[in-house]
């Protein structure tokens, strides 16, 4: 289960605040996955006290509304990423960035499909730069794209381009994963699916032996 409480001292109308919390939740908590299991209790509650003394924000298109929107989204993304970082048994945080989709929503769906792939997650735990599992997870996301436009980059290393695997330095890619997991760091995966304007991110973690151990011993 994920639970969140967000507090804010801006003076903001209920309508604007509701929109901000909704959009921020989608771009943060709804963009993480640890094990693909949606809880019975997931909930984010946002409270705005108005104690900052600013002129009330009532126009969602105003500059102040957009600043507040960006700030709340950033805060919630930081919190959401900490959940993925602390995923049961995790040795790393996975950050998947998708570009070139038809829309931001499409990009987020593809990104979370990759972040949630048990095979891709297992590969990351084994420090295996397995571009095929990443490509497959993007492909079954439900979002249509031209496979001849798929690109995959792991950290700074390009593994696939224009739908074709490249002759990358596997030892270096393996070392990138090993070194990152050794410090419980962030593994970055970049996926390109075309030339559309849509971009989105999702976060997850690797799948380790400990995940099974924890959930075999802990009752939910």
């Amino acid at each position: 289960t994920m639970l969140g409480v967000v507090t804010c001292d801006a003076a903001v109308s209920p309508e604007v605040w509701t929109g901000i919390v909704k959009r921020a939740s989608v771009a943060s908590f709804n963009s993480i996955t640890v094990d693909g299991d949606t809880s019975t209790n997931d909930c984010v509650i946002g409270l705005a006290s108005g104690a900052a003394g600013n002129a009330p924000i009532t126009d969602p298109a105003s500059k102040d509304a957009q600043l507040l929107d960006a700030a709340v989204t950033a805060l919630m993304q930081g919190l959401a990423k900490s959940i993925a970082w602390d995923g049961e048994g995790a040795t790393c945080l996975l950050e998947i960035e998708v570009t070139g989709a038809a829309s931001d929503a499409d990009a987020r769906v593809i990104a979370r499909s990759v972040a949630g792939s048990s095979l891709a997650k297992s590969a990351f735990f084994g420090h295996d730069p397995n571009w095929g599992r990443i490509a497959a997870a993007a492909g079954y996301s439900g979002i249509i794209f031209d496979q001849a436009e798929l690109g995959v980059r792991l950290g700074s290393m390009t593994l696939m381009k224009d739908g074709q695997p490249l002759a990358f330095d596997k030892a270096a890619a393996n070392k990138y994963l090993k070194d990152t997991c050794a410090v419980h760091g962030t593994v970055q995966v970049f996926v390109t699916v075309g030339k559309g304007p849509g971009k989105g991110m999702a976060w997850g973690c690797d799948l380790s032996y400990d995940y099974v151990k924890i959930n075999a011993e802990y009752t939910t």
Partner: protein, 212 residues
């Protein structure tokens, strides 16, 4: 209830907030003006002495918004909050317990949520609809009401607006989490006013949120 330090000693999550037009600050849910928080050990967990009951209170009615799981088998506090938000645009408090999820507990579970909200409202001197609830823990088991209800009137006395108070709240909502998760940032509006946003969350397993 207890606020013993040893009940709240777990490491903090790393800072993972993206960079932008804001400054990261300390204080979690207490960083923004107008809020107090607390976390206590109330004996709600099946085992261990980690904090298990958290409360965030606004000094005055605060504008509220929520997103909730779309899981059909949603828990009683989710149903309760959605009912309150149909009626209210402001609330005063959010109380969160760890130990039992109060999910798949039927009418009894909903009545337990109502009883907890009523008890907190009485303790704070507010209306029941000023209170929202969150629960996390084991599914299908009734909350430990024999420990929960007596703990609620004791909560307001331990409220505070410090970073330590926010941290106790952040720890008290954890379950299998290995770290506490809290953050805050400050941003300047175009009008010149400075606004602070803070937050806490929990989660480690059963994580694939799909909230609306």
């Amino acid at each position: 209830v207890s606020t013993d330090a040893e009940s709240f000693v777990i490491p903090a999550a790393p800072d993972l907030i993206p960079d932008g037009a804001w400054t990261k600050v300390e204080g979690g849910v207490c960083a923004a003006k107008g809020f107090k928080a607390t976390g206590v050990y109330a004996g709600l967990r099946a085992s261990g002495k980690k904090g298990d009951l958290a409360l965030v209170v606004a000094d005055a009615p605060a504008v509220v918004a929520g997103t909730f799981t779309q899981n059909v088998m949603c828990a009683a506090p989710v149903l309760y909050c959605k009912d309150v938000l149909k009626r209210r645009k402001t609330v005063r408090a959010v109380m969160t317990n760890a130990g039992q999820a109060n999910a798949a507990t039927g009418t009894q579970g909903y009545e337990d949520s109502v009883a907890c909200a009523a008890a907190l409202a009485a303790a704070l001197g507010v209306e029941a609809d000023d209170v929202l609830l969150q629960s996390t823990g084991v599914i299908g088991r009734r909350m430990k009401m024999e420990a929960f209800l007596p703990a609620i009137p004791q909560l307001p006395a331990s409220l505070g607006a410090t970073t330590a108070d926010a941290h106790r709240a952040a720890v008290a909502i954890t379950t299998t989490d290995l770290v506490s998760k809290e953050a805050a940032l400050r941003v300047q509006l175009s009008s010149g006013a400075t606004v602070t946003v803070g937050g806490m969350c929990k989660g480690s397993g059963m994580i694939h949120p799909n909230m609306a």
